[in-house]
Amino acid sequence: MKTIDFFVNGTEVSVTCSPSKTLLDVLREDAGLTGSKECCGKGECGSCTVSMNGLPVCSCLVLAGQVHGENVITVEGIGTPENMDPVQQAFMDEGATQCGYCTPGLIVSARSYLNSIGHLPGLDEIKQALGGNLCRCTGYTKILKAVQTAAQSQLTFRDL
């Protein structure tokens, strides 16, 4: 057992657990944040995606002992039901969610990607950025549309 201190969604948390517990399990079981989902558990599907120091990573492959002092953002930190992020709003508006299992990971990937660019991304760029997030329901069309919409609204907002 080790005590690990790190930041989740801007708040400092301290958990005591095995250093080999995955960050995903720490978030879900110790921090009570069940937004991030486990699916494949081996880095292939992206449903567990969180942002670590601004970069999307698969939390199912990050071990607790490696996150000491790091800054983690989960889907819960991106927006709340009352105050949604443009990406979340666009997913709602475009109907980009069916079962919803992939959605938290996709929101984190999309948010990190939009934060990292300053232009309106083309479809291929978005596909590239979201290539690590699988969805077995939607067929992706609406997801891509939603990210485009979010990018558009973000740029318009910036221009104001």
């Binding site: 080999s20 558990g41 081996k42 995606t49 999307p56 698969c58 490696q66 290539g131």
Partner: protein, 297 residues
């Protein structure tokens, strides 16, 4: 013991890490990006006492140039390689290979040292390191040694590194403006997939011509380790790299590879695809070279 109960040590310096590795009473596994190591832990394949978490060892993270040599620290992530202007200019083949390593999440987590240490025959950066003629530095508490990329791998998951050694540097010669490189991969899908076949090519061209002065070709995923295609390489300098010449060279590729059939593809498919990838790769590379030659440098 459950896999998830393995303890972890997080050394702050290389020296501390090397010192820990000298302890013969305990078993260790190195942990960098975790994209491969953690999967193996979950599969129960590894039953070691301690993880040695390398993430806090800042002296293993660097991309530098000294005289005519480029040095990369093993803890450099694929994303860092992709976004390095230095490597974009001087190691295009490596940058392209890193772009093909899984999707964004994997590129952000995975490290070049991890890719080398894991020694998967399908590891994407390895053919690129063969093509660049890279040298891998191994360090233990008693000293350092240099091993060429080609001599480093002995089989799937096996390298010449001893348990008390860690990879501390990857180096290769700076490439000039007449050196061109390319990495091509065939996988079951575009993102986050393991290679069925991949090829890295690096050529030194004669200015103003389509003649090649020498080059290296390395195939991944078609043998127990990455393989250099020496017969194909020997043909590179036989004459101008015309489409006919390229197809002749590529038709020899099947002799160079020794693939197996597995869940990803059959051996004969891999053999055919090795030729096809090489042909396409050489063709694209020569086209790019010719297009650039027309513009004044």
């Amino acid at each position: 013991m459950y896999a998830s109960e393995i303890d972890m040590l997080s050394p702050r310096s290389l020296l501390e890490c090397l010192y820990l590795l000298e302890n013969e009473k305990a078993s260790f596994r190195l942990l960098a990006g975790g994209t491969d190591a953690v999967v193996r832990m979950k599969e129960g394949k590894w039953q070691h006492d301690y993880w040695l978490n390398l993430k806090n060892i800042d002296e293993l993270k660097f991309i530098t140039i000294e005289k005519d040599e480029i040095h990369i620290g093993p803890l450099t992530t694929h994303s860092e390689i992709i976004s390095s202007p230095l490597l974009q200019d001087h190691a295009d083949v490596l940058v392209q290979a890193c772009r093909e390593v899984g999707a964004a999440q994997m590129q952000n987590m995975g490290t070049i040292g991890g890719n080398i240490g894991t020694a998967s025959p399908a590891g994407d950066t390895i053919p690129a390191l063969f093509a660049l003629g890279a040298i891998i530095e191994l360090t233990s508490i008693t000293g350092k040694r240099q091993v060429s990329a080609e001599d480093f791998f002995v089989g799937p998951g096996k390298t010449v590194a001893f348990p008390n050694e860690i990879i501390t540097k990857i180096s290769f010669k700076v490439r000039g403006k007449h050196d061109i490189g390319l990495f091509q991969k065939l996988g079951p899908r575009k993102a986050q997939s393991i290679s069925i076949v991949n090829v890295a090519i690096s050529l030194s061209m004669k200015e103003g011509t389509k003649e090649c002065l020498g080059g290296r070709i390395a195939f991944g995923s078609v043998g127990p380790t990455v393989l250099r295609a020496k017969k194909c390489e020997a043909m590179l300098t036989l004459g101008e790299l015309s489409p006919d010449m390229i197809s002749n060279i590529s038709s020899v590729a099947w002799k160079e590879v020794m693939p197996i059939s597995d869940i990803r593809a059959s051996a004969s498919y891999r053999r055919d695809m090795a030729s096809a990838l090489l042909e396409r790769g050489l063709y694209r590379l020569i086209k790019r070279w010719a297009d650039n030659e027309r513009k004044p440098f």
